[in-house]
Symmetry: C2
Subunit: 333 residues, 2 copies
């Protein structure tokens, strides 16, 4: 009988940690669960929490599947960057407050498992390539739109990391050189227009002097409560102002995606994160803007699709990056 092997995935975020296990062939997900990061408790405490979650995941997966402890090959970790992959360091994360923290080896030492570390946006993209919306495609651009806009690149079937693991900062490409100030210090970045908070900001601006939009009710009358999700939901219900904010968002995203088509000539662009929930209200106009802006052969070569993995994209992707680094041969004993 062929043995089933498992790989664990850890998705470390500023507000929550998600952990789970997958069969190494991508066919099953086990014991997926999340806990608050509680970054304020310090890095040691976060590492302890991660390792406790790994232990829980192993125990529960063994119970569910009858696996033995040594069927767990290792753990892939996805973390906000910038990172030093070779050394396994988190160089700096504004959200966690860490500097040059040896996350990979700390988790490996405590858990007793071999570990890998990669950028969260890279993980999300590789997950979609492995078992999601970009399955098996040769060249993929992944864009994760949430609090920020992250990017991952799969070129010739492999994650591309660049000279110092800092490639893929798609959110920080300029689409309007004299435009909105971005948190990164630059002007006119895609992220300054199309991240979740930027979408909410633009909705608030559009609502000045307006009192008949659904968005106001959905925000309990307080514009401070407006979120990108409220904008998407109101748009789906037909709110005209919300629809205009979504169309405008689509034009910004479409401009950024058109640039990526002309640069990379990818087979697939995956838009993941909250934006994947916006549906055709957003994807239709994004595709139209891309057709207007990018070269025809580049448009014809490329599908632009929502991510399929939803909330588990980070964990699945962390597992995928582990396997990319330490291939699992189907043999088994």
């Amino acid at each position: 009988m062929t043995r089933t092997r498992f790989v664990l995935g850890v998705d470390l975020g500023g507000t929550k940690i998600s952990v789970g296990a997958m069969k190494a062939d991508g066919s099953g997900q086990h014991a997926m669960h999340s806990l608050p990061t509680l970054a304020a408790d310090g890095a040691d405490s976060v590492v302890d929490r991660i390792c406790a979650m790994i232990e829980t995941t192993i125990t529960q997966t063994m119970r569910e599947t009858g696996a033995a402890r040594d069927d767990f090959l290792g753990v892939g970790i996805g973390s906000p960057g910038p990172l030093d992959r070779e050394q396994g360091l988190v160089i700096t994360t504004p959200n966690l407050g860490w500097t040059d923290f040896p996350l990979r080896d700390r988790v490996s030492n405590i858990s007793g498992l071999r570990a890998t570390l990669d950028n969260d946006a890279n993980c999300a993209t590789l997950g979609e390539w492995w078992i999601g919306a970009a399955r098996g495609a040769q060249n993929v651009v992944g864009i994760t739109i949430g609090t920020g806009i992250g990017g991952g690149l799969i070129l010739n079937g492999k994650l591309y990391h660049g000279a110092s693991d800092a490639a893929g900062e798609i959110g920080h490409t300029t689409i309007d050189s004299t435009g909105r100030r971005c948190k990164c210090g630059n002007y006119g970045c895609l992220e300054a227009y199309a991240s979740g908070p930027a979408i909410a900001d633009r909705a608030r601006e559009a609502l000045v002097g307006v009192n008949d939009s659904m968005m106001i009710t959905m925000a309990d009358g307080d514009l401070a409560n407006i979120t990108a999700q409220i904008v998407y939901d109101a748009s789906k219900k037909g709110d005209e102002l919300a629809r205009e904010v979504v169309r405008e968002t689509a034009r910004f995203i479409g401009t950024g995606v058109a640039n990526l088509l002309n640069i990379f000539n990818p087979n697939v662009v995956v838009l993941a994160g909250g934006v994947a929930q916006a549906g055709e209200d957003l994807f239709g106009p994004v595709r139209a803007e891309v057709r207007r802006r990018a070269f025809k052969p580049n448009v014809e070569a490329c599908r632009i699709v929502p991510g399929e993995l939803g909330g588990t994209a980070g964990v699945v992707g962390a597992v995928a990056t582990y396997i990319a680094q330490y291939p699992v041969y189907p043999a088994g004993a």
Copy 2:
């Protein structure tokens, strides 16, 4: 005695064809010469001219080096795109008026040499990587600024072509989504601001109502004669208005280059074409704009340098793309 082998390179442009031979180890250039393309004579005539130039190059190189005819391994061809590399077709070229023309096999059949075909901007970038300003770098972005703005990408030590050989259209990335109309139909492309003709256009706009700029004298009093070269030359001589046009050009180029740094995290960006002649007047402000706009780790990882190959970049690059496809092993017999 180890035999010296040679590879020929053909650089096909809208106005001229350049051909030459190189030692396969990159150490020598032979019989480099150019003739007008005379595209109006038709594709057959252009192919005949290319093959006659190949014959001249072989004969002259044999005379110069004592090589035998079968020391010439093949010919790399660089052409404007879009191309189908696998089939060896020029899909379409506005400047030559060709459609689905089997350039590679036509040249191969007449010359009796094995041939390869690649995009001219890819060739120029690979040439700089082989024996020029980006020698041996792992990840390189090449930008050739002339009548248009072309781009080539070397990722993990190899030319990157994308899903349908259409990657690298760096000139057609948007830096101002509501900006200048570009010839490609899009708005705000880098090429609409920083190509040779766009630089000349912006100089002409700046000269409206001005009569004390050196540029006017250098253009023999006729603004229609202004070229990017005149702008660079006047700037070097201290003309204030020309200096401002160059600084503005640097800001546009810097914005485009910053995007590429954030996306690719390259080791080297090579700026080639006429712009390489502009010197520190341009490169200083380009680097400053990139520092302002790109992430620090991405800036620190990357050199931004002028191309070193000048007028022979296209031929050298065509030879390099041939060797990339048909490696020449140093052995020899």
